[in-house]
Amino acid sequence: MAKLETKGIVKYFKHESHNLMALGGVDLKVEDGDFVCLVGPSGCGKSTFLRIIAGLESPDEGQVIFDGKPVTTTGPERIMVFQEGALFPWLRVQDNVEFGLKMAGIPKEERSQISKRYLDMMQLTKFADFFTYQLSTGMKQRVAIARALVMDPDVLLMDEPFAALDAQTRDLLLVEMQLIWEKTKKTILFVTHNVAEAVVLGTKVAVFSNRPSKIKKQISIDFKRPRLTEDENLLGLQQEILSELRPEVKKIK
């Protein structure tokens, strides 16, 4: 049984004059421990798809099935990491990381034990008392990931988490991300518009077609880790994915 499955997800958006069909029946199966990267032309509905899985939006047709049961609301087993991080500026780093635990009513001491572990993992221990405006963009992103991991979700949903980073910081986090995944064996869905990023991270890459979007192609990647963006072995895969993407991007214009 797949860990997570979507069946025929359809989503419309109302615009002034007409309804826009963003997702046109998306079917995806994700096995436990998969690291699935989703790529596709801009505006095809990748974020929407992730939000539907998280339960933040509801599909017009189709189902999200988690561990064999359909889900319709948010749940602690499916946690999202937003592109902008969406950290709370009124909380210190540690309180940001503990936010979900606090909501769950876990007592203060236990919370700080748990958060300590993840702050360590993310090399943020020194910055536990900082406010978010005192952090660099890369550090913010690490806090956002720690905040999600603390919830110990089965599935981590990541929406272009590295898009705002400079190349150096991104390369660093790409390596860290692989280590985290190997350590925690989480199931991860990772949206990116950067094909190089996708082939470095994913065990699978799913390519979205243009609107109304479906999954056009899935490619498995088996290379040894940690992979680096410079890896020449990955170039062929990148080319393959790009050649799938190109006609979709052109359709937009």
Binding site: T74, F82, E84, F88, P89, W90, M103
Partner: protein, 252 residues
């Protein structure tokens, strides 16, 4: 404050007082309608000595604090409701906009009828003058919350009251501060105006006594006190909170 700024201020205010003294000594206006700064100072000393000044200040500030407190709590609750429940906004919202433009002084007759000649009446006028500014700013603040904050919080299991206290209120706080500040300005005007018309203790009452007795120097003395308190609240309380919040949010 740098030394030379302080010096400039001292020179400026000294000149101001001297000019005032000169005008009052020249015979443009008789003394009973244009008192000298000396007389005003004398009145202040006199009122301070017999304690009536401090009692007046304490009374006004107590009413202000209670009224503003009510306005803040009520305004925040109402504002959040308006922002989160569309129907509330479409109905009560338009009423709030209307009520906001009634000067608080216009409520005085109704306040006396409904509350009698009590602190309650003055507090009502104060609170109703301030509440809608708080409401409108809270509403704007909550409306402008980055939806990702709310989604992230919901995703991590926050809902209902938890969501409100842990996310909505802190996220909207920079706007709410503006609301509190506007609310304070209206509340201060409200409390003085109400006391002036109620004629029931407080600084506004002292102002009215001065007026009833044609004692212009007392009127000016009380105005100076009102002004100093206003400056103190603005400068110490609100400036401090604002600076803290702004820097915390990384807004400056």
């Amino acid at each position: 404050m740098k030394k030379n700024v302080l010096a400039k201020k001292i020179v400026f205010f000294t000149i101001l007082v001297l000019v005032w003294q000169a005008i009052s000594m020249s015979d443009v206006w008789p003394n009973n309608i244009f008192p000298s700064p000396y007389e005003v100072g004398e009145d202040l000393v006199y009122m301070a000595a017999d304690g009536s000044l401090f009692f007046g200040i304490a009374t006004s500030i107590m009413r202000l604090a209670v009224g503003l407190g009510i306005a803040i709590v009520g305004g925040v609750v109402l504002g959040i409701f308006m922002a989160r429940v569309e129907t509330v906004n479409q109905t009560i919202g338009s009423l709030v906009l209307g009520l906001q433009s009634i000067p608080s002084i216009a409520w005085v007759p109704l306040a006396i009828l409904w509350f009698g000649l009590t602190d309650g009446g003055i507090i009502f006028v104060t609170a109703i003058g301030a509440i809608f500014a708080v409401t409108i700013n809270t509403y704007t603040g909550v409306k402008n919350i980055d939806p990702h904050y709310v989604e992230a919080a919901r995703n991590m299991g926050a809902k209902g009251t938890q969501l409100t206290t842990n996310v909505l209120i802190p996220a909207a706080f920079p706007y709410m501060i503006t609301g509190f500040k506007q609310g304070w300005a209206f509340a201060w005007r409200g409390v003085i105006g109400a006391e002036l018309l109620f004629s029931f203790l407080g600084l506004g009452f002292l102002l009215n006594v001065g007026r009833q007795l044609n004692d212009v120097s007392q009127v000016i003395a009380i105005m100076l006190v009102i002004m100093l308190i206003g400056m103190a609240v603005d400068g110490f309380i609100f400036k401090k909170i604002e600076n803290k919040v702004m820097s915390r949010w990384g807004l400056r």
